[in-house]
Amino acid sequence: MTIAETKISGRQFMYSIICFIQASAILNAFISNITYQESWLVVIFAFIIFIPSVFMYGALINRFKDKNLIQIIIQIFGPVLGRIISVIYLIFFLSITMFNITDLTDITKTSMLPTTPYIILVMMCILITAWAVRSGLRVLTIYSKMYVFLASFIIILSIIFLFNVIESGNLFPIFSLPLKKYVQGIHILNAIPFGELVVFLLIAPNVQMNKKQTYKYFFLGASIGAFSFFLTVLRDISVLGETFGMFVFPSLVAFRLIRITEAITRIEILFIVILIILLIFKISILYYVTVITVSQIFNLKKYKNIVLSVGFFLMTAAIVLSANSIQHTLAAQNGAPFIWVTLQIIFPFILLLISLIFNIKSPKEESK
């Protein structure tokens, strides 16, 4: 039984996944000062390594057709241990939501509203996303297709406009770094942003798709999203060269270099606007997933009445816990990958393995 009764189509699900990864374009700064100009190579390898995880998520969704991740955990591990594990996932979802809120407010403060107090930006973000979450999954994902096309159009447009400053030589050398750097880069990318797709396991029961379509939409969504991310990194490296690893927001610096005529200049606002839209979308999804997790743990029939209180916690915790961008970046580069990958890839794999060994399925699947 799902908490939210609204259903979305498989395509909306796919576009939501693409939007989710495109919103992480800002996050190339996490690997830029580790793998520098070879980051484009690391993105390719990270996605190839992530592909089995996509099929693993698909297999879990198909095996437990009408259950979300929390319900699967409770079914497999029982009500007590299952809820304890679910609380760990709740903390995980709260953390990634907070980190993404911090990213949104950082980019807004850097580019548009430098003197507006942090708490104002966080509060407005929470209120907007709370409204979307209270309206339900269908409203959350209804414009995902438009966002995908808009973001893709802006990425392609930026590459065309930056053609005169792109130097293909900036993409080289390759394989010049120690192996440890590539491993670290791939590990970080598998945690952020690819591994974050685990949140879609909480949305999957509300999606109308058959078994084949599950694999198809999940894989297509992840691939197109990863390709967008790859194009962004490729563009930034070929434009910025050796300075790619220096900046907190390399894409913003790259966009500022666009100058076609005196009229087509200073169009980085396009990038900022679409990034804010995508980040709001991503935060809405994460916020929704967090609220669903809370409802599931406490067996609530409706989640709407807890949305704003969860938002209040997110708002205040985001200000206090994400102290500054340097600590945030260091945590993302060093600590988060180990913790995140355990919850995003290793634990769902254990769930799938246990369900296969002990032949545990959802009752719907058992009756087939």
Binding site: T110, M112, G169, F172, P173, T243, M246, V253
Partner: protein
């Protein structure tokens, strides 16, 4: 209840998200178009000058045509750029707004000292833009702000337009803060920045002249190249849309326009050690002016001009390359090419690259195609023997 929430929410949005704290009215801003940095007489201090546009509203029916009314120059002497802006903001009625800064000009003394300490601010500050152009001025940089320019609002806008125009032909004249920082960080590569001189002749309406390039080893200017070496540098770098050269030979004078200059470099190794560099320079040339050469037929003239231009390119390019070898400064990206395509070889060469570069043998191979001779097919020789 829902309607009350929507109303409150919209009120909050209109209150908080329209730039309450970040409102910037134009009459509170000093729009900076150029920054000049010179060494001060005080040790460890720098003279920082900023020039901006006057943004007062125009009165109907009367406009001031006096240049002095259009520009405003602010000056201060401090230890760092950030201090300078803080000081200027403190003592001026408007806030300095750097988002329209077109150009950063360094005096020759500052360039010889250490450029990196001044660029740190432009890289780090959220208010500055990395595509701001950089140039060096012979003597003091603040002399540029005293120039009277008739064509533009102030001298930095003039300079910016000037550099944009010439860089459409030779892109190497346009160096931004981002380009220079990227070059500093790039292994096996040193940078050049265009150098200008202020024209002190009051009768001349060209207030500033480009004299060549300032050559940098890392952060410090070590030499200047002008005229011949500047042409050689442009030829060796390649990727140039148009430049020109007048050659005087025994038989006459010919002026060529060189279009679409492309350069290819081939490094010859011996035991994984580079010993020679072969540079192929492909040029499409047009004859723009031709005097003398009367004794040549059209076919012979074509051959002779080919020989002349090829020899000139070999001489100029070789002389320039050797000059940079004497300076031990690889500005052509030979080391960069090894680093990008053969990183393992580069690991053995990186620590001694400047000396290795200085010892390379160079072979210049020009490939010139004289595309056309202009609007006339023969030599213009009025009153001469036909």
């Amino acid at each position: 209840m829902k309607k009350i929430f929507i109303l409150v929410f919209l009120l909050l949005c209109s209150l908080f998200l329209v730039g309450c704290w970040d409102a910037r009215e134009i009459n509170t801003l000093f729009i900076v178009t150029g920054i000049a940095i010179d060494k001060s007489k005080q040790e460890g201090f720098f003279d920082v000058s900023v020039i901006g546009i006057k943004t007062s509203p125009s009165r109907g029916g009367s406009q001031s045509s006096d240049d002095k009314d259009k520009k405003i120059v602010l000056k201060t002497t401090t230890r760092s750029i950030r201090d300078a802006f803080f000081h200027l903001n403190l003592n001026y009625d408007r806030t300095l707004y750097l988002q329209h800064n077109q150009i950063v000009i360094f005096g020759e003394d500052v360039a010889k000292d250490d450029l990196h300490r001044h660029l740190e601010f432009f890289v780090r500050s959220e208010n500055s833009r990395m595509e701001t152009l950089m140039l060096i001025v012979e003597g003091r940089a603040d002399e540029v702000f005293k120039m009277d320019v008739k064509q533009e609002q102030n001298s930095t806008i003039y300079l910016f337009t000037h550099i944009q125009t010439i860089s459409r032909r030779v892109k190497h004249y346009k160096i931004s803060v981002l380009n220079f920082i990227a070059n500093l960080l790039t292994e096996g590569f040193h940078s050049v920045i265009p150098i200008f001189a202020v024209n002190k002749n009051d009768d001349d309406d060209m207030p500033i002249n480009m004299t060549g390039f300032a050559v940098f080893r890392n952060n410090k200017m070590i030499a200047k190249i002008t005229d011949l070496e500047a042409l050689g540098f442009v030829l060796l770098k390649g990727d140039v849309k148009n430049t020109n050269r007048t050659i005087i030979s025994y038989d006459g004078m010919v002026s060529f326009d060189f279009d679409d200059i492309k350069t290819k470099k081939e490094i010859i190794y011996k035991d994984n050690y580079p010993i020679k560099i072969k540079i192929t320079i492909e040029i499409t040339a047009r004859v723009e002016e031709l005097l003398g050469f009367e004794k040549y037929s059209i076919q012979d003239l074509n051959r002779e001009l080919h020989n002349i231009v090829q020899q000139e390119i070999i001489n100029v390019a070789t002389q320039t390359f050797k000059y940079f070898q004497e300076l031990k400064v690889d500005v052509f990206g030979i080391g960069l090419s090894i680093y990008q395509h053969h990183p393992k070889k580069w690991n053995n060469l990186r620590n001694d690259w400047d000396n290795i570069f200085a010892s390379l043998e160079v072979e210049i191979n020009p490939k010139v195609v004289i595309k056309d001779y202009g609007q006339i097919v023969s030599i213009y020789n009025p009153g001469g023997v036909k």
